[in-house]
Amino acid sequence: MIEALRELARRLLAEERVRVVIGYGQSSPQGPVHPLFITRAEDAEQLVWNRQCFSNLTAYLTRKDVRALGPAAVVVKGCDERTITVLEKEAQLERERVFVVGMVCEGMGDPGLPKCQVCDRHRPRLADETLGEAVDREVPALERYAALEAFLARPAEQRMAYWQEELARCVKCYACRQVCPLCYCERCIVDKNRPAVIDTSATLKGNFAWHITRAFHLAGRCVACGECARVCPVGIDLTLLNQSLARAAEEAYGFRAGEDPRVEPLVGSWSPQDREDFIR
């Protein structure tokens, strides 16, 4: 697979179909895997593919400096691929300017990340070229939201106490925002000050307001790549917040973000039949 990937990258660059290949690299065989930008065919051998390729590289597709390089190829896993669908739907990228290299993935990390254990997208479906062989299995929603379910089984006071303890550690480094492929706003609302809606202080108050905002601005958009939680320096499990929204979307509207390119974005569309059992 790795040779096929390098070969494909070489070909795409040599034939000038793309100007940059966004893939994974590793500074030493034991070292951590990091995003890598290949602009010359002869450098394609630096690309790697293994169980440490955590990053969702689609985050780079909307960046000005990356776009300035020209058409890009991006290496994606099945989970990351959904972001491309969302970005396209939100008019953030021209699909024909991006060559999507799909990697069949058996899960990242060892043991696999929680998201990988309930993954039903081992094989990218919309890639321009897909490397590797694997069969997806259906994973019932119940299983996908098991962690959330377990958390929601706790009483509300305990949930509140949990978040107070967790969010107290947040220093507002905004790694969660910067790593998110769907946080592409030129100026984040938390950085706006006319008026200032969210306290920029990393107090409990400011942190609650920030994390409510971050999660909710991804409602019906988050594809559960889990990067926000993975990169959090202080280990706050933000996937619980994202999942609560994802599950509500799936339950109420049968909607999964990035799943079906034909479906309109969830927030921004509506139906007269939408349920409203909580509205008096």
């Binding site: 959330l148 958390f151 929601l152 509300a156 006071e157 305990q158 949930r159 509140m160 106490a161 949990y162 978040w163 107070q164 107290a168 809606v197 969210i198 202080s201 990393a202 107090t203 409990l204 108050k205 609650f208 307001a209 409510i212 905002t213 999660a215 909710f216 409602a219 019906g220 619980l240 917040l241 999942q243 609560s244 929204l245 599950r247 509500a248 979307a249 109420a252 509207y253 969830l266 927030v267 921004g268 569309s269 509506w270 139906s271 007269p272 939408d274 349920r275 409203e276 909580f278 509205i279 008096r280």
Partner: protein, 146 residues
């Protein structure tokens, strides 16, 4: 109501300009009494009631929040309330996982003709909030510091 010790809850009502605001107004002109604990904030449409406003209300010391607008199909801007309905469905799920007390957030449709419904809803929410007491958990968040 001895257990409430005269607790006077602060309830923020975000209402749309075209239906609920007029409904509340009608309640007033018809001399329908309702508790003074509700502070009405008028917005053009429920579609404009950003979730930040709900967070801000709790940050500012609200014990409960009411969001109210036109009945589905009656929106002055055709679909503002339909958009809002989806957002609230999702937003409630987020608040729930955070452990926000869901009994303190209320959504209703109240038309310009429903002065009586306004009276009922506000009275009921006030009673309910009185029973719950002040929203101490969110105050603690706001006073928690770093």
């Amino acid at each position: 109501m001895s257990q409430n010790n005269g607790f006077d809850p602060k309830i923020i009502a975000y209402v749309c300009n075209w239906c609920t605001y007029l409904g509340a107004d009608l309640a007033g002109t018809n001399r329908l009494e309702y508790p003074a604990s509700v502070r009405i904030i008028r917005l053009p449409c429920t579609g404009r009631i950003d979730f930040h406003l709900i967070v801000k209300a709790f940050e500012s010391g609200a014990d409960a929040v009411l969001v109210s607008g036109c009945h589905p199909g009656d929106c002055h801007y055709t679909a503002g309330n339909f958009h809002a309905r989806r957002r609230w469905t999702l937003f409630r799920a987020l608040l729930d996982v955070l452990g926000i007390e869901m009994d303190r957030i209320h959504f209703t449709w109240i038309s310009a003709a429903e002065g009586r419904k306004w009276q009922e809803v506000v009275t009921e929410i006030t009673e309910k909030t009185k029973a719950l007491g002040p929203y101490r958990a969110y105050r603690r968040i706001c006073e928690g510091g770093a």
